[in-house]
């Protein structure tokens, strides 16, 4: 069983297909994310039933965009698939939640929200998971200088750096 025919049947919902680091990679239209993952998950011959990972990503080139990377695994044929999906709005990225398909996506999406501020539509409890609740920024976005010279919480007078 090859993955290409499956992807060909989904080609309307796929922006582009490539192969990198020994894995097939597809980029999906954001509005079609859930239906694509559901089709892959329920495929009779090659069901991608296992969500290995879901994480946020912020790319600056060629155009700035924020999105997610999914790793899906078909345990029957031991095939892996990398799936990317980007939101058009960098200021307030919004993507559909996969929690209706994978319960395991819950905490992973919370993490992606915590660090990149991605709003997952349909997530049951989208709040911070690792950082303190009072944090006002999304720290992994590539929009901060490495060091903020105006910060107040570091006392240099006694200990220096």
């Amino acid at each position: 069983m090859m993955i290409e025919p499956i992807l060909a049947s989904l080609q309307d919902q796929i922006v582009k297909t490539s192969n990198s680091y020994g894995m097939t990679e597809i980029e999906v239209v954001p509005s079609e994310l859930v239906s694509v993952v559901q089709a892959l998950m329920t495929h009779p011959d090659m069901p991608f039933t296992f969500l290995t990972d879901l994480c946020g990503i912020h790319l600056l080139e060629p155009t700035p965009r924020i999105g997610i990377v999914l790793h899906l695994h078909c345990l029957q044929t031991n095939t892996r698939l990398r799936l990317k999906c980007f939101s058009e709005k960098v200021d307030s990225p919004t993507l559909p939640s996969l929690t209706s398909l994978f319960s395991g996506a819950n905490w992973m999406e919370r993490e992606a929200y915590d660090f990149y501020g991605i709003q997952f539509v349909g997530h049951p409890n989208l709040c911070r998971i690792l950082n303190e609740d009072g944090l006002t920024i999304f720290p992994m976005r590539k929009e901060y200088p490495l060091e903020d010279a105006t910060r107040q919480d570091k006392n240099d007078s006694m200990f220096g750096r």
Binding site: L130, N131, E132, L135, I137, P139, E147, D153, K154, N155, M158, F159, R161
Partner: protein, 185 residues
């Protein structure tokens, strides 16, 4: 070795006072200070690598029990000394403060390692830049990580503070103001 040739047991120095035939006079403050100093119950708040050094310090080789800290207290309510060893994330700050608030007076705090003292190498958005941002600290132990000898040195510094603390300190306006500056009742 026969029983008679055993060395006589070592007795620590007694506080200043008047020594006489069958009696000894000193102040309550000095007697209490000595008793407190030699029976500190530490609460280990070990969050990362420095905690490993504490485990060595508590173990038989370095043996913190020699200094009266025989019993690590894992309930803050029964502890005298809070030993914070390791990186404290900002998210953990309120937890640390709550542990401190649960301790009964008099209480002391030892910040072990660069992280607990200043944030250490973790000069970043998620790490508390020193536990003295949330609770008052009595003694800082530098090092990344400090060796057990240094932790013991810090404990002995705490013991000196404990011994010389006057009994009214915890009710003094200065101490109340210090706690109030941290928002602790």
């Amino acid at each position: 070795m026969s029983q008679d040739s055993r060395p006589a047991p070592q007795i620590g120095p007694s506080p200043e006072g008047v020594d006489g035939q069958g009696f000894f006079l000193t102040t309550v403050e000095k007697a209490v200070g000595m008793a407190r100093k030699n029976s500190l119950w530490p609460l280990p708040f070990a969050t990362s690598c420095c905690g490993i050094e504490f485990m060595a310090t508590m173990g038989s080789h370095y043996d913190l029990a020699r200094f009266g800290s025989e019993r690590p207290s894992f309930s803050p309510r029964q502890a005298d000394l809070l030993m914070v060893m390791g990186t404290v994330a900002k998210k953990l700050g309120p937890v640390l403060k709550q542990v401190y608030e649960q301790m009964a007076e008099p209480r002391w705090v030892l910040a072990v390692g660069a992280c607990a003292s200043t944030g250490g190498i973790f000069d970043t958005y998620s790490v508390l830049q020193g536990i003295d941002k949330v609770i008052p600290v009595d003694v800082y132990v530098p090092g990344c990580p400090p060796r057990p000898e240094q932790i013991i040195d810090g404990l002995i510094k705490i013991q000196e503070l404990v011994q010389s603390e006057h009994l009214g300190r915890r009710n003094s306006p200065e101490y109340k103001a210090l706690l109030a500056s941290y928002g602790i009742e």
